[in-house]
C-alpha cells in the first residue's frame, strides 16, 4: 500500500468515528431524543438493506422484488432465537443476528437455485412471489405468532450496533466488488454470454451474489426485530421490497455510495415531511419522479464518491490508477 492510500483509509476511518462521536454525543447531551435516534437506527438498517440489494440488482444485474422477504426470514429467525435459545445476554444478540443472516442466506440458496435460471421480468416475478409466500406462511404458522405478530423480543439493538454493522456491510460489499469474484459478478451484468465465454462460472457467481445479498438482508432483519421489539408480518410486504428497490435505483444501480445516500435521504424524508401529514407521500413521490426525470440512472449512476479521486484533484495530480476502492480497508482497522 502506498502512502496516498493509507491517508485515504485514515481519513475515512476518522470520518466514520467522527459521525459516530457526534451522534452519540448529541444523544447523551439530550439533543437527540428517542424519536430521532429511532430514525437514525432505521437509516442504518435501510443502508444495510439497500447496499445488499444493490449487490444483486446493481452489480449482478438481476431485478429482485422480494428483498423484504429475506429480511423477514432473518428477523423472525433472529427473534425466535433470542426468545427460545436462552443464551447469556452478552453473546445472545450477536449470535441471534448471525442466525438471522445465515437463515436468510439458506433461503437465498434454496430460492436462488431454481429462480436464477430465469432472467429479467421473470426473475422479478418469482422473487416477488417468494416475498409474498414467506409473508403468508409466517401469518399461518403458530410459532411465529401468526397475524398477531411476535411479541416480547428484547430491545437490544442500539445505535452503536447498527452503525457498526452498517459500516461493516458497506465495507464488505465494497471490498468484495473489487476482488476477482466481484468482477466476475459484474461481468454477468455486462454480458452473460461473454462472461461464460471468458471462463466465468455464471451460475456459481449469480448464486454467490444472491446469497450474500440475502445474508445481509437477514442481518438487517435481525437488527430490526431487536429494535422494534414486535414483529408483524404485514411490515414485510411487497411495498417494503419496492421501497428498498427505490433506494437502490434512486442512488444509482451499481453505486454503493449512491445507495447509502439514497437510503439516508429516503428514510429521513418521510419523517421530515410529517408536519405536512396529508401531503407527505405526495411530496415523496414528486421527489422520486423528479430524480427519475432528470437523473434516469439514479443520483450517482455507477459513479462512486471516492476520496482517492478527490485528493488527486486537490493535489492536482492523478490518483493512483489501480486504487479506486477507498472505503474497503479503512473500516477493518476499526
Amino acid at each position: 500500500m502506498n502512502r496516498k492510500k493509507v491517508t485515504v483509509y485514515g481519513v475515512i476511518l476518522v470520518l466514520i468515528l467522527a459521525i459516530y462521536a457526534v451522534v452519540t454525543g448529541l444523544t447523551d447531551a439530550g439533543v437527540l431524543n428517542s424519536y430521532y435516534s429511532g430514525i437514525l437506527i432505521m437509516v442504518c438498517i435501510n443502508i444495510i438493506l439497500a447496499t445488499s440489494l444493490n449487490l444483486s440488482t446493481g452489480f449482478l444485474g438481476q431485478l429482485i422484488l422480494g428483498h423484504a422477504g429475506f429480511m423477514s426470514v432473518g428477523a423472525y429467525a433472529a427473534a425466535l432465537f433470542t426468545l427460545r435459545a436462552g443464551l447469556p445476554d452478552s453473546i445472545d444478540f450477536l449470535v441471534a443476528l448471525l442466525v438471522g443472516g445465515l437463515t436468510a442466506a439458506l433461503f437465498g440458496l434454496l430460492i436462488g437455485i431454481p429462480a436464477l435460471r430465469l432472467k429479467g421480468d421473470y426473475l422479478a416475478i418469482i422473487t416477488l412471489g417468494f416475498g409474498e409466500i414467506i409473508r403468508v406462511i409466517i401469518i399461518n404458522l403458530d410459532f411465529t405468532g401468526g397475524a398477531r405478530g411476535l411479541r416480547g423480543i428484547p430491545k437490544e439493538t442500539n445505535f452503536s450496533w447498527v452503525y457498526l454493522l452498517a459500516v461493516l456491510t458497506v465495507a464488505i460489499i465494497f471490498a468484495f466488488i473489487h476482488t476477482r469474484h466481484g468482477r466476475a459478478v459484474i461481468s454477468i451484468r455486462e454480458d452473460e454470454i461473454a462472461a461464460e465465454a471468458s471462463g466465468v462460472n455464471t451460475t456459481y457467481y449469480k448464486l454467490l451474489a444472491f446469497i450474500m445479498s440475502a445474508f445481509f438482508a437477514g442481518i438487517a432483519g435481525g437488527l430490526y426485530a431487536h429494535h422494534i421489539g414486535i414483529l408483524n408480518p404485514s411490515k414485510f410486504d411487497f411495498n417494503y421490497s419496492v421501497e428498498i428497490l427505490v433506494m437502490v435505483v434512486l442512488g444509482g444501480m451499481g453505486s454503493i455510495t449512491g445507495s447509502v445516500i439514497a437510503a439516508t435521504v429516503l428514510t429521513i424524508l418521510p419523517e421530515a415531511l410529517r408536519d405536512f401529514s396529508s401531503y407527505r407521500m405526495l411530496a415523496y413521490s414528486v421527489v422520486l419522479i423528479c430524480v427519475m426525470l432528470f437523473r434516469p440512472s439514479g443520483l450517482l449512476g455507477q459513479y462512486e464518491i471516492s476520496l482517492t479521486r478527490l485528493f488527486g484533484k486537490l493535489s492536482g495530480s492523478k490518483g493512483n490508477k489501480t486504487t479506486k476502492n477507498p472505503a474497503s480497508g479503512g473500516e477493518k482497522g476499526a
Partner: protein
Amino acid sequence: MPLLEAKHLGIAFGGLRALEDVNFQLEENQIMGLIGPNGAGKTTVFNLLTQVYQPTEGTIELEGKSIIGKKTYDVTRGGIARTFQNIRLFKDISVLDNVRIAMNYQMKYSALAGILRLPSYWKEERAMTERAMDLLSVFNLQDLAESKARNLPYGQQRKLEIARALAASPKVLLLDEPAAGMNPTETHELMESIQLIRDRFSISILLIEHDMSFVMGICQRLVVLDYGRIIAKGSAEEIRTNPKVIAAYLGGE
C-alpha cells in the same frame, strides 16, 4: 495428433440440419480459415466448439480429449477461447477489468481472502494486473486501460475482445469475423497482430472471415462450408481455383 479435431460433427435444430458431417483438424501453431457464404453454418461451428450448442452427432476433441457435454466456461478454461461476430465486451467497465475478468479462473484466492485483503489478494492481483497490462500493450491499448470499453473506437473494441480472449490463456483461439467493419489499413494491421499473437503465445487460430485478401494472406489452410457441409479443404491456392468454391460463391450451373 492434431490439437483440435472435429469428427462427423452435425447439429439439427428441429428439422433443420444446420451442419452435417463436418470434419476438420487444427494443428498446433496453425492459422486456419473457415469461409463460406452467409448462412453456411460457420458461427454454428464456433458455437459447437465452445459448447454453446450440443452437437446432435459427432465428436470434438481437444488434445485427444472429448469436450462434448462440458459447460462453456469449462471449455474456455480447457483452452478454447473465442470472440464474437457482433462484439460482446463488458461495456460499462474499464478496459483493464475486461481483460482481468478472463483471468479470473486462473487465480486462487478465495472470496474471504479478497474481502479481508489478505497477502494472497495483493500478490495475485498485482501479478494479474501486470499480465493484463502486458496483454493490452500487445494491442497498443495500454494507455486506455482506465477508460470504459464503451468509449473505445470500433477497431480498438475488436482488438480488446481478442486481448480478452487471450487473457483466458487458450490453446485455440476462435475469431469470428475479426476484420468486419475495419478499413484496409486496420485490416492490414490486424493481419500482422494475428500472426504476432500466434508466434508469441504459440497458439492455434481458427477464424471466420469474409475478406478474401485477409483470409488468403494469413491462413495456411482453409475449410469451405456451404449449406452446412464442407465442400472443400486445402491451401489458399487450392481453394482459390476449386470449381465447387467458385460455384458456391458466384453461383454455378
